[in-house]
């Protein structure tokens, strides 16, 4: 590979997501009717925010070189728990919802950190269990409508979490240690870093974020087990497309945000221009693979 080629591929890796985003937004302004209306934007934000929140938590786990496949089930679980506790007030309900994420995150994290189970396997098991519990809880219950938060609050929460994760990843001991663990686990251990604690914490955070996202999701079907089925994958795609490689050792928070927006925008563009949801889904599948190919072998 020549230097120009390798520079080009490095650029694609790091900034491709922004370039794609700008191109897509511009062409939308030109092509799609009603693209910049308030109503369209509101609708997009409602769809975007849960994916974004899950992706932020996922970025932390992927930064360690792991992955969390259970996020969809965790969303379903917190969405199912929410209506049960909503009678006691919003704050206890939210706390109960977040707690489900903390607990499932602790389960995956312990399996990964202490029992050295591969992250994919551990979180897959938690996915199956979480989904089972969600189904049992929601059995016969009327499906929740989430917290019914208005759009400005959604945006506020999303921005707050973006800031939190940016600071966490870049400015804190935890974030710096996390990236080092993802980059070279042996070196991290030899340098006296609390490897297990950092791993556990990253899964707990990812679970909590997924739980929060679950509470913001409107359940469109009567079966809560389907909640978040695709969101977990979208989140992984957003993270990877944004420049965080699946092999870990690096976290790109803004890239992740851009990745999430990009995926939502692609879907929206297709749908707005008359393509069926199924086509949008297939396109997303192609984006996933493309993102992984682009990030292949990078750190």
């Amino acid at each position: 590979m020549t230097i120009t080629q390798s520079r080009l591929s490095a650029f694609t890796r790091d900034y491709g997501v922004y370039a794609a985003l700008v191109l897509l937004a511009l062409s939308n302004v030109l092509v799609t009717r009603d693209f910049l209306t308030v109503e369209t934007l509101r609708e997009q934000v409602i769809l975007l925010v849960p994916v974004l929140i899950v992706a932020l938590g996922m970025a932390l786990v992927i930064g360690t070189g792991g992955v969390d496949l259970s996020v969809g089930a965790v969303m379903a679980l917190s969405a199912a728990v929410l209506p049960l506790s909503l009678d006691y007030g919003v704050v206890p309900a939210v706390m109960a919802g977040v707690l489900t994420g903390v607990l499932t995150g602790m389960l995956s994290g312990s399996l990964v950190a202490f029992l050295k189970v591969q992250p994919i396997v551990a979180t897959l098991a938690v996915l199956v269990v979480g989904r089972g519990i969600a189904l049992v809880i929601a059995d016969g219950e009327t499906p929740g409508t989430g917290l019914g938060v208005d759009v400005p609050t959604l945006v506020l929460v999303a921005v707050a979490l973006i800031v939190v994760v940016s600071v966490l990843a870049g400015q804190t001991t935890f974030g710096r240690q996390l990236v080092a663990i993802g980059g070279n686990r042996t070196a991290a251990r030899y340098s006296g870093l609390p490897v297990n604690r950092v791993l556990l914490t990253s899964y707990v955070l990812c679970g909590s974020f997924a739980a929060v996202a679950g509470m913001f999701t409107r359940l469109t079907t009567s079966d809560p087990s389907r909640t978040g089925e695709l969101i977990g994958l979208s989140a992984i795609t957003a993270v990877v497309a944004g420049g965080t490689p699946l092999s870990g050792g690096r976290i790109r928070v803004l890239g992740t945000v851009a990745g999430a927006v990009l995926i939502q925008l692609v879907t929206a563009t297709l749908l707005e221009n008359g393509a069926p949801a199924s086509v949008a889904q297939m396109v997303q599948a192609v984006i996933i693979i493309a993102a992984v190919v682009v990030q292949r072998g990078t750190r």
Partner: protein, 500 residues
Amino acid sequence: MLEAARVTKRFGGVPALRGVDFLLERGQVHALVGANGAGKSTLVKVLSGVYSPDEGLVFHRGRPVRFTGPQDAQQRGISAVYQELSLVGSMSVSANLYLGKEPRNRLGMVSFRRMHADAERLLDSLGIEVDPRRELRSLTLGQQQMVAIARAANTDSRVVIMDEPTSSLEPDEVETLFEVIRRLSERDVSIVYISHRLLELFQICNTVTVLRDGQVVHTGRMCDIGPVELVSSMLGRDAADIRRTGTTAFTHEHTPAAQEVLSARQLGGSSHADNVAIDVHAGEVVGLGGLAGSGRTETVRAPAGLRHPGRGTVEVQGRQVRTGSPSAAIEAGIVLVPEDRTGQGLVPHLSVRDNIVLAALPRLSRFGLVSQSKQDGLVHTLMRRLGIQATGPDQRVSELSGVNQQKVMLARWLALSPKVLLLDEPTRGMDLDAKAQVQALVEELAGQGLGIVLASGDLAELVEGADRVIVLREGAAVAELQGDQVTADAVRAAIAERGT
């Protein structure tokens, strides 16, 4: 049979082989020797098709070849037994012997009966006594090694490369191996034999090539060289020569204090480095000598908590340190610069800054938030003090030269103001100037009162750098040299004792 001509191979800009010529003739048993990091394993991987050379050519039967991979090389009759066992532990011995070329019946299915029979015949012909039906991992390491060799020697191999075949063998197993080699040699099979055990080389090999720092420094008939000369050419220049010119930056301007900083007992692992004890005074450099596989690395790593807990004792300034935990050791002030800088020390893709502050992060933080000003101040100070040459603190550490990478490692530890510095081959793979820079730093740190343990295969470095040298052989301390006793000849004699 097989030849390498002017072969150069680099990893991330660092050359592992520099213009190496190597000629293997039919039926030859060719010893390939050199200190750790001299480039032996890299050369082996070039010859067996795992790596392709950056420069130079490989000739096979007189014609230049470019192997597409180990599979390609194997098809041309060149197979290798690697240091890291390349077998599948959960499968039977015969499956391991015949994976990829299984005997089949008429339906295309594996005929296990024939496979076992073939395996029995093969093992028998080589004089290896192992039941081919057993699961591989139920065998001793030595037996597994023999199976790996049998696989490599199977059927139409013309060249067999053995990388440290005896490192895990018991004495009687070594005899079996030699028998195997003799039988192969009689069949005109050429063998490349890598070992640190000198005696063996004289027993079994007829030709020898010595590598040092990625270059060939000697090649010739085995009977024309003596063990001491062999050690000399492996480890560096002649003793007299070293004394005259001085190849290291050590000046011995530090003076050990009376106070002991480190006192470690029974640094024994399960089989290596048993009953070895190290005491280090403040401002003292204690050298650990011995060939690779002598337990040198295990010994220097043990006080840093890199071993199963519960064995031996480690005290820092009289206070007991929990063993088996790197963080406990670091907390107590014991830090290690590991031999494998990029694999075990640095986080290669992170910046110089991130690598320097990695261990010090909690000290630079309040409520978990890293103070940028404190961090930048520390990084700036350390980069200047150690003379780290980089485009800036943001440069990726993987882009630095070996010596600057090593300085980053040292900077990481100096940020913690440690009491004991353990160095494992700190100048491995560096040129003389780079070595001198690191050595000068080590000297300076000793002068500032650090207790230093220097494990090195570089004789000059050891003799000129250390106040005291402990020589290890086969996991045991065989000599402790002090003061005037610390000479290259004395160390060499202690190392080569069994070989002479």
